[in-house]
């Protein structure tokens, strides 16, 4: 009997197992690398675009490139050019390239006032041709807060100066504001005095109203007497109207008869006119026609030989010019 077996059973098929392990390890490594490359958009088809900036400040490799808020690529690389400008290469996902036109512009922007920087590309005009691989875009650096602060300070400065001068003007003892306050104070004092005067006037008014009331009573007494007289006058007028009432029917009768006469005269006139209206138009039209024919005959005769020889020629003539004509010599 053997103390140790010639072959450990755990090592049976060890060769096959090692091969399988190695294959699995290799597959895992390849998978990890591939996933990394996919994550890095290594297999995405891209287009290279360039722009030139005066400085590389805030520009960095790997920066996001956005269009309308969508990430469409990254900053691939930066170089310092011989003329001290910075050449920046962008890698743009090919599927978005049709948005970028030759007049599109790259702009260094920030997410918020102090956020991370990114490159924003404006879409450009649709009528302009699409940018091609290795195309160059214009670049503009957006104003950040450090740019905005001096501008803001320049604008606020005059306002602060104005506020300062207004404050000084208010504090000045002989200034308009202090004088106006003084005036208001004096006005309020005068107003109080005026109120006293008004109350005195009101008291005096009461006394006068009492006097007026007495006068009014006297006037009303006299008016009562006048009304009595008016009543008598109205009685007399009533009698006169009664007389008129009696006379009116007679006058109306006469008026009716006059109107009847006028009506009959009008009827006669209308009859006469209707007779005339039947006769008059033909007479007028015939007369007109006769005149026209006579005119034509005369015109015709004027054109015939030998009458035409005795008539002045039918042509326009200017008035004769005479050097002795003036305002006084009218003929």
């Amino acid at each position: 009997m053997e103390t140790f077996p010639k072959q450990d059973p755990r090592f049976t098929h060890i060769g096959s197992k090692a091969v399988i392990f190695l294959i699995l390890a290799a597959a895992l490594a390849v998978g990890t690398v591939t996933a990394g490359l996919v994550h890095q958009d290594y297999f995405v088809k891209t287009v290279r675009l360039y722009f030139f900036a005066d400085s590389a400040q805030d520009l960095a490799k790997g920066m996001s490139v956005q269009l309308s808020g969508f990430k469409i690529g990254t900053v691939d690389n930066l170089w310092l050019e011989p003329n001290a400008t910075v050449r920046v290469r962008l890698l743009i996902n090919r599927q978005y390239i049709h948005f970028i036109r030759q007049d599109s512009q790259a702009r260094l922007a920030k997410e918020g006032l102090i956020g991370t920087s990114f490159i924003e590309i404006t879409p450009g005009t649709p009528e302009v041709r699409q940018v091609e691989n290795d195309g160059v875009l214009k670049f503009a650096r957006a104003k950040d807060i450090s740019d905005a602060v001096p501008d803001l300070a320049a604008r606020i400065g005059p306002i602060l100066a104005d506020i300062k001068s207004i404050t000084q003007s208010i504090n000045e003892p002989n200034g308009d504001f202090r004088q106006a306050l003084k005036g208001i104070h004096q006005a309020s004092t005068s107003l109080a005095e005026a109120a006293d005067s008004v109350s005195q006037l009101a008291r005096s008014g009461d006394t006068r109203i009492a006097n007026i009331q007495e006068h009014v009573n006297v006037v009303l007494d006299r008016a009562g007497a006048s009304v009595d007289k008016s009543n008598k006058l109205l009685d007399t007028l009533g009698g006169t109207l009664a007389t008129v009432d009696r006379a009116v029917p007679e006058v109306l009768e006469k008026l009716n008869s006059t109107l009847d006469n006028a009506n009959s005269a009008s009827i006669e006139m209308r009859r006469l006119m209707s007779g005339l209206s039947a006769d008059l138009p033909p007479a007028v039209s015939e007369g007109r026609s006769l005149m026209r024919e006579t005119h034509e005959v005369v015109q015709g005769a004027k054109k015939t030989w030998p009458i035409r020889n005795y008539l002045p020629p039918a042509e326009e003539q200017a008035l004769p010019f005479d050097s002795n004509d003036d305002a006084r010599n009218k003929r």
Binding site: W305, E316, Q317, F321, N324, D325, K330, R331
Partner: protein, 278 residues
């Protein structure tokens, strides 16, 4: 045979005589009729009516671009406006003729327009402008035209207005020679009158009398009462100047009679004042 031929010829001649001449178009006939009516109104002293009719005729002529019609109506209108005491309106119509370039108005008409301008300037005592316009007119005449003698007379009158008797006589003599034909008799009489007036102004009354007699004879032939009046007044002045007071009175009396017949109160007053002086 001979009789037949003669009869046929006579018939053909008669037919030719009786045939109507070609008529102008209807619009043109209207312009002609209005122009003739305006002339009739003017001759009867109706200046307002004459102006209205001339304006209508002018409008038609402008509408049919009849250059000579436009010129004739504008010139007539200028004369009417001048007589109505509206020289600005007269100038407007004269400018229409003088400034024309589109219708090609004849140089003769432009000369007449310039003559009217000279006359208006003379009435305003602007003798320099009168001279300029008269020279412009003579430039349009370029040798000879119907208003040449009138233009020369205007230069003579301008000289007379400046008390330049010698110059006035010089221009009047030129006018007289330019008005040699039958149509220029009125201007010849004017030239003679100006000559006489210049001689009277220069104190040579006796030399003025023959010119005035000749002018009077011409004016009587033409039956122009205002000219006759002017001749008689000048004759009276000339005779008075040489001490022939009876003759002077006789001429002034004749002038008074003419002015009275014309109902010219101003002329009558002038003649009466001259009579009273003698």
């Amino acid at each position: 045979m001979t009789m037949r031929a003669i009869s046929a010829s006579l018939l053909a001649l008669l037919a030719a005589c009786a045939a109507q001449p070609p008529e102008p178009p209807r619009t043109q006939q209207e312009a002609i009729a209005l122009n003739q009516s305006a002339r009739t109104a003017f001759e009867s002293g109706d200046l307002t009516g004459a102006r209205r009719l001339y304006e209508q005729s002018l409008a038609i002529d402008v509408s049919i671009e009849k250059a000579d019609g436009v010129a004739m109506n504008a010139l007539s209108l200028a004369q009417v406006c001048q007589m109505q005491g509206e020289p600005e309106a007269a100038q407007h119509y004269l400018d229409l003729v003088l400034n024309d370039s589109a219708l090609a108005i004849s140089r003769e008409r432009k000369a007449e327009a310039a003559a009217r301008k000279a006359q208006i300037a003379l009435a305003a005592n602007d003798t320099r402008a009168a001279d300029q316009w008269a020279d412009t007119g003579l430039g349009f005449c370029a040798g000879s035209c119907p208003v040449q003698s009138a233009l020369l007379n205007l230069r003579a009158r301008a000289a007379l207005a400046r008390n330049d008797s010698a110059g006035a006589i010089e221009w009047a003599v030129k006018a007289q020679s330019a008005a040699g034909d039958e149509r220029g008799r009125a201007e010849r009489a004017n030239a003679l009158r100006i000559t006489a007036e210049a001689r009277i102004e220069a104190g040579n009354q006796r030399a003025a009398i023959p010119s005035l007699n000749e002018a009077l004879a011409l004016d009587k032939t033409l039956a122009l009462p205002r000219r006759i009046y002017a001749d008689l007044m000048l004759l009276g002045r000339a005779h008075a100047g040489i001490g022939e007071r009876d003759a002077a009175r006789a001429y002034f009396l004749r002038a008074l009679a003419v002015a009275s017949a014309l109902k010219d109160a101003e002329g009558a007053r002038e003649a009466q004042a001259a009579l009273d002086k003698e």
